[in-house]
């Protein structure tokens, strides 16, 4: 029975944590960006309530919380009756609306004006947009309703032909036509450089920067809040235990080292959550998959005690997985012949200082190695070597220098090695049953 109950709690914990890490659930209160939040809310309120037109860009690196900020602001904005009744929203994404024709269709659809537009033929884009906004005027109120345009991946809209959409939106927002608010979200700091002059001059040049630069204690605090359970969790006792467990976890020296390493490489919280989610850390604790985890055995032996579900060791393991070089992983699976070719390329790179090579040179280098050994167990014919070489090319470990070399023979096509010295050596250390002479060959300074 007890196991059943624990299982039930487990599921709840999972639900909560998964909701947080996978869904990027909105927090009740934003931390660190209160000023930006206030600014944006003020701005949108002016459009929604007073019918003022505005345009603004939210700029910040990926994972800085731009979308989260906007969503929070919208949530707070819609709490107001007046705004909720009035405001129309149009959400566009640069990834989806890849040209202005599609974007305009999408705008029509999101404003529910398909039947109004019908089969009308429009002369120009501006005319069409003006018609759409005009149509909104004939709503229940005498004045027109405010429209909020959210342009996600704003920089991609700047690549549209003539930037028609941006020009028209900014034009409407600047002149006293229908009240619109244009909010662009982008990760490019140089986004204004992408705008044409006539578009730029119509933009209000209002930018909200989200260049959050958390300190490590803040980062740690964030990890802690992300992991701990909320107060409204049904089982209070368990919740307390869990949160204490998280507390001790965050104070652990080795865990702090790991997090510091992550912090130093990236402050992106998306990446952090993917790291915490990554299978070896959080999940083996909740789901007893890997019988190695000691917490599981303790829980099964004494079912009365609630196990501490997070162990520093698991986080370390997750971090190790996270920081392994994926190319080294791929090198591990190569056949011995392919590995020998890689070593030959490495030597060629050393000798000729990074000049490109072709198959003949690599083969020649490999042959020189074989000649020095009395027993040649690797006696391969040229076509077999060619096949191995092509496999390396397929894996994109080597790349042709110019792609248009259709006219040269395959064995003379110039290639470049896409690996560096340390990656090869590291892979060689881990390679299962690597023959010693191959290892020595790789170590030696001159092929």
């Amino acid at each position: 029975m007890i196991i059943c109950i624990i299982g039930f709690i487990d599921v709840q914990v999972q639900d909560i944590l998964r909701e947080r890490f996978c869904r990027q659930q909105l927090p009740d209160r934003l931390e660190g960006v209160e000023a930006q939040h206030k600014h944006l809310l003020e701005l949108l309120k002016r459009t929604a309530v007073h019918g003022e037109s505005n345009s603004v860009l939210i700029v910040g690196p990926r994972g800085a919380g731009k979308t989260m900020l906007l969503k929070c602001v919208l949530r707070d904005l819609l709490e107001e009756k007046e705004a909720q009744k009035n405001l129309l929203q149009v959400h566009l994404n640069g990834l989806l609306q890849t040209d202005d024709r599609i974007a305009l269709k999408e705008i029509t659809r999101q404003l529910h004006l398909e039947n109004v537009v019908g089969d009308k033929v429009f002369g120009s884009f501006a005319e069409n947009l003006a018609f759409l906004l005009e149509a909104l005027k004939k709503g229940d109120r005498s004045s027109s309703r405010p429209v909020l345009f959210v342009l996600d991946e704003f920089d991609l809209f700047a690549h549209h032909k003539n930037q028609t959409l941006l020009y028209n939106l900014f034009d409407v927002s600047q002149s006293a036509q229908a009240p619109v608010a244009v909010v662009g979200i982008t990760c490019r700091l140089d986004v204004l450089e992408l705008l044409e002059k006539r578009v730029k001059s119509r933009f209000s040049h209002r930018q909200i920067h989200l260049l959050s630069n958390p300190t490590f204690p803040q980062y740690l605090e964030r990890v802690r809040t992300q992991l701990s359970l909320p107060d409204r969790f049904p089982d209070q006792e368990f919740c307390q235990d869990w949160n204490d467990g998280v507390e001790t976890l965050c104070e652990d020296k080795s865990v702090q080292d790991v997090l510091q390493k992550h912090f130093n490489s990236s402050k992106d919280f998306h990446l952090l959550s993917s790291f915490i989610l990554s299978p070896a850390s959080l999940f083996p604790l909740i789901y007893p998959f890997f019988s190695t985890s000691s917490s599981i055995s303790s829980s099964s032996s004494s079912p009365g005690v609630t196990p501490l579900l997070l162990l520093p060791a698991d986080l370390l393991e997750a971090s190790r997985l996270c920081f392994t070089d994926s190319k080294a992983n791929m090198l591990h699976g190569l056949s011995i012949l392919e590995l020998c070719l890689i070593i030959a390329m490495k030597h060629l790179n050393d000798v000729y200082e990074g000049e490109p090579f072709n198959l003949q040179m690599v083969h020649n280098e490999f042959k020189k190695f074989l000649q020095r050994k009395s027993n040649s167990m690797y006696n391969f014919e040229q076509p077999v070597i060619m096949k191995a070489f092509e496999h390396l090319q397929q894996l994109e470990l080597i790349r042709p220098v110019d792609s248009t070399a259709a006219k040269t023979q395959r064995e003379y096509q110039l290639m470049r090695l896409m690996l560096d010295h340390s990656q090869i050596m590291e892979a060689l250390q881990k390679y299962p049953q690597c023959p010693t002479d191959v290892k020595q060959w790789a170590m030696s300074a001159f092929g």
């Binding site: 640069g94 998959f289 003949q360 040269t408 023979q409 003379y412």
Partner: protein, 445 residues
């Protein structure tokens, strides 16, 4: 082994069956299961799985999704020559054919997301939906927006959906210029030699014992393991050559336990297989036929690369030889090779500083038509007039791809060529006309 796959969200028997179907991939299956969580829980937007060919990526995904009966769509990016096919396949497997028929003729990503959202709101997901993309590296060649959009599809369609990308190429080569939503990375390591042996031994022949088959696999791996670790390829080779392995047994020459004799019988055969069937120079059918008639025609068992003999007209042969010489010898040395009274010029005199590497490593160099003809006249033993016949033979050599034209097509007065045949090939050709080409090659002086 099966103990590893315990999961509160699924029935015990099913997990048992999954574990049986996935030999040597329990750890990966367990990881994936824990990442996927229970069917009704929300899941991470995108997962990127990479590993070598035939390391079980697709297989594990298929078995998990099918056996656990999770809603999924499997799309092979090789099949999807246009994005329309991709969208159609996803909509078809999630919402049936009425959804797929709503797609306009050349759908944009926007259309796809709209239709998805529309249907998704009608039939909200009780379980996580999965979209598996095989050979995801091909997504890079399509529309630049497709990959970043797919990675955050969960956010775009507002549904509990997870994209799983499978590829042989590492994630670093996928990342777009301005970055994108980072998927979870999962590596499927290659099978070790022991694991390969274990898996390959599973498809044993019904009329022979398991140990016998496993010893055969051991021999096969001994020959091929250093070259190829692709499970699928090895399995194919094992199936092709097994009958040969059993031959002495059927004739009653040896017993099953006499491994050494069996090895002596099969090893040269497998080596031959590496030079032909492994390289796809003969088809599997041809290989089987050759195995049967082997006693009579031992020599016939040669691959394409061994066929160095091509019938050419007499002058064409000399033209080709001349082209080869022109491609691989520096123009400065022509005097030494083709003039009667060149005096004593040694190789060291020609040697320039940067010319230590031989031309046979660097590949053929282009040469003008005049030089080709000049060499041709001096190597051919009879007097030949520069007639149209000679020129047409040059162009037919180009058509045969023995020569390649380097200069642009509109350059008529001084076209440039390159010789595109291998050393072995040209040696065979020159033997047929009694010409000792080695004497005329600068690299072999």
């Amino acid at each position: 082994m099966t103990k590893m796959l315990q999961h509160s969200g699924y029935e015990e028997e099913r997990l048992q069956r999954v574990a049986e179907l996935l030999p040597c991939r329990e750890v990966q299956a367990g990881m994936l299961l824990s990442l996927m969580g229970q069917p009704q829980q929300c899941s991470y937007p995108s997962i990127f799985i990479y590993g070598h060919r035939a390391s079980g990526k697709s297989h594990v995904m298929q078995v998990l999704l099918k056996e656990l009966e999770l809603p999924h769509a499997t799309v092979s990016c090789v099949e999807c020559v246009s994005v329309a096919l991709l969208f159609e396949q996803v909509l078809l497997s999630f919402f049936g054919c009425d959804a797929a028929s709503l797609l306009p003729r050349s759908p944009s990503l926007s259309d796809f997301v709209r239709i998805y959202r529309q249907h998704c709101s009608q039939t909200p997901a009780k379980q996580t939906r999965y979209i598996v993309m095989e050979k995801a590296e091909l997504l890079r060649d399509t529309d630049a927006n497709l990959l970043p959009a797919l990675l955050r599809l969960q956010e775009l369609v507002d549904d509990n959906v997870t994209i799983i990308l499978l590829s042989e190429i590492v994630w670093d080569k996928f990342r777009p210029n301005t970055g994108c939503f980072e998927p979870l990375l999962l590596h499927f390591p290659d099978y070790s030699k022991g694991e390969l042996q274990q898996i390959l031994s599973q498809d044993k022949h019904p009329s022979y014992s398991a140990e016998f088959y496993s010893s055969y696999i051991n021999i096969l791996l001994g020959v091929f393991y250093s070259v190829c670790r692709d499970l699928r390829e090895l399995r194919h080779l094992a199936a092709l050559n097994f009958s040969k392995f059993c031959e002495p047994l059927a004739e009653g020459k040896v017993k099953e336990t006499d491994t050494h004799k069996l090895w002596r019988n099969i090893e040269p055969h497998l080596k031959k297989a590496m030079q032909t069937v492994y390289l796809r120079e003969v088809s599997s059918l041809q290989w089987e036929q050759l195995q049967q008639m082997e006693e009579r025609e031992c020599g016939a068992l040669r691959g394409l690369s061994a066929h160095t003999h091509v019938e050419l007209p007499y002058y064409s042969k000399f033209l080709l030889i001349a082209a080869y010489l022109a491609s691989y010898n520096p123009a400065r040395t022509d005097k030494r090779f083709f003039l009667k009274h060149h005096g004593k010029i040694r190789k060291t005199n020609f040697l320039k500083k940067n010319e230590k590497t031989s031309n046979h490593l660097l590949g053929p160099k282009p040469f003008p038509l005049d030089r080709l003809l000049a060499i041709f006249y001096s190597v051919v033993d009879s007097r030949v007039a520069p007639t149209a016949s000679i020129f047409s033979q040059i162009s037919s050599l180009v058509t045969l791809q023995l020569l390649t034209k380097v200069s642009h097509d509109d350059q008529l007065d001084a076209p440039k060529y390159k010789c595109a045949v291998s050393m072995d090939f040209i040696c065979a050709i020159s033997r047929t006309v009694n010409f000792e080409i080695i004497k005329y090659l600068y690299d072999f002086l």
